[in-house]
């Protein structure tokens, strides 16, 4: 009888032993206690592990406005691309990557926790004005998925695929399509870094592209390597990889083969907008004619199961859209909106007072606000006035103060 209770007590006792890494200046700053569950974080290389400790205590509403540190190993693996460039600079300068917990990200994570994964995936669209933190909220939610052991398909900026393309080859498999070998092979390399542990576990069904065929039972890693090594067929390989993941995501419910798929696209409006690429006869290229875009559009449909589609709109990299446009209907256009409907919209706005306070204290803590006037009350009011509590403008202001 007593044995039984002991066996139940061991896992909880074990998790209590996990070291709590308190940051030193906790008393001054709204810094979250870093629940650095070394056992669980260390073991995330095993397939489909979700630490029960993490999923219970992962951020909740009482943590809004506080900063939490992304472990350096996670940043290297999960975000080889995908973080905004100024945030990457900040990580380098402060020697740590800290993200603020904000209501839109918490909302998204709560939806992800409660969703039914035997049904088709829900599509979440993060929208908001310029510089309010859509990409950061998306990265936060993606980090949650990563800690839960999902397979991540992350397109860091779809706008980069519709403009400034140096090599546009006519597709080898289909007559009216165009390939982008550089972008496709770059994406495959990043995919490999993020999902290394899945590459040997996921077995392919029968995959057939025009020139190369991969037999049944080959691991996904081989297909990805093929795409990276042979640049010419890399766009088709991307399509094949996406198709395979779609078919297998909802497949086995338990056991070794099961995984949940998180598809994250930043700059979703690029898929249905215009491109600035020209074909050889100097007519404009439609996004439909690009292999990469076509395959991602297929991914956005909810005709598969066992995952979630997280997206964010972006006006900053978009082509031929006015700067004032930020709503989904304005940025996606008619075609995009009809394709994405029904979706769950999540609005991201400027900081409120508590979040601004937290950001200000974080910069003070990291020794970033150096000007003596910026540390006074009046200086703070000036910062509020100049930035209108917009996260990106505040960051740019504090950079030289």
């Amino acid at each position: 009888m007593h044995f039984f209770y002991l066996i139940l007590a061991i896992p909880t006792f074990f998790c209590l032993i996990c070291s709590f890494n308190k940051s030193l200046e906790m008393s001054k700053v709204h810094r979250l206690m870093q629940n650095e569950c070394k056992i669980c974080y260390g073991n995330l290389t095993t397939f489909n592990l979700s630490c029960p400790f993490l999923s219970q205590t992962y951020h909740s509403e009482r943590h809004t406005g506080q900063y939490y540190t992304l472990p350096a190993a996670h940043i290297q693996k999960l975000f080889p691309h995908g973080l905004p460039p100024r945030f990457q600079l900040q990580i380098k300068t402060f020697n740590e990557g800290c993200v603020m917990v904000r209501p839109p990200a918490l909302e998204l994570i709560s939806y992800l926790k409660k969703a039914d994964y035997s049904k088709p995936p829900l599509r979440y669209i993060l929208y908001g004005d310029v510089g309010t933190g859509k990409t950061m909220c998306l990265s936060h939610a993606l980090h949650y998925c990563y800690t839960q052991g999902w397979l991540i398909v992350h397109i860091s900026d779809a706008h980069l695929w519709v403009k400034n393309c140096k090599e546009l080859l006519p597709s080898s498999s289909r007559p009216s399509r165009f390939d982008q070998p550089i972008q496709a092979s770059q994406w495959l390399k990043n995919f490999k870094i993020t999902n290394e542990r899945f590459l040997s576990k996921v077995q392919l069904g029968y995959v057939w592209t025009k020139r190369e065929r991969t037999e049944k039972g080959q691991p996904l890693g081989e297909l990805v390597d093929q795409g990276v090594n042979r640049m010419k067929s890399s766009s088709d390989v991307v399509g094949a990889v996406l198709r395979e993941l779609r078919l297998q995501a909802g497949g086995a419910t338990e056991g070794e083969g099961a995984f949940k798929l998180a598809v994250a696209v930043d700059g979703l409006n690029a898929l249905w907008g215009k491109t600035s690429l020209k074909k050889e006869d100097r007519t404009m290229c439609e996004p439909e004619e690009l292999t990469l875009i076509h395959n991602v559009r297929k991914m956005m449909k909810n005709n598969w199961s066992g995952g979630a589609i997280l997206t964010a709109l972006s006006q900053t990299g978009s082509l031929f859209k006015p700067q004032s446009a930020y709503l989904p209907s304005e940025l996606l256009g008619e075609e995009g909106f009809d394709n994405m409907e029904p979706f769950v919209p999540v609005s991201v706005s400027n900081y409120n007072e508590k979040e601004f306070e937290s950001c200000y204290l974080y910069y003070l803590d990291r020794n970033w606000l150096q000007h003596s006037h910026s540390r006074s009350e009046e200086g703070k009011k000036e910062l509020i006035f100049l930035s209108n509590k917009n996260p990106s403008i505040l960051e740019r202001l504090c950079a030289f103060l």
Binding site: T93, F94, N367, W368, Q370, H371, H373, G379, E382
Partner: protein, 219 residues
Amino acid sequence: MCVSLSLCLVRWSRYNPYYLDPDPSKDARVPESELSPEEKELQELKTVSPIKAALSSDTSSAFNDPLISKFINMMMQDGNKILARGIMTQTLETIKRKQVEKYHKSPAAKREEIECNPYTVFHQALENCKPIIGLASVQKGGKSYQVPVPLTDNRRRFLAMKWLITECRDNKHRRTHMYEKLSQELLAAFANEGNVVKRKHDLHKMAEANRAYAHYRWW
């Protein structure tokens, strides 16, 4: 940030000497009791005499720094103040980034020696670049001699800034950005190294070498 190229130029550069400079800072108005008798006279003068129009680039906020404004004006080309100001802010940001990165990576003992404030770094670097004595060309008996001569404060400040800017424009690699070049040069000058400080030392040595001609100066 609105770009209004049609700024109304109210301020002329030539004013009657009795016009006073404007002081937009909030600390300009001090209550009567705290002033000494000379300062009380100055205040009296301010109520009576006319004041020049304020520049568009001066603000009443405490973030306004006259030295930085002067440097921006000297860097400006073809009246493109927006570009010059952008370069200045990027320079300050780069200096701060380098110093803060060093600060976070160093052990606790060495942290106090690292100066992270880009404004103090700029002021100190400029001080280190200012020459104490200069040379003037004096003609005597058909031949012109380089005569060591004292410099006014404005002249010293001007020379320091001019040397910094020309050094960054001419002697650095063409593909680096101006803010990178400036930040490297400023950090070097802060530590009393680099080409600008070397130029100042060369000027001092020339003045020392020509001290025999010092009596040619009649002013």
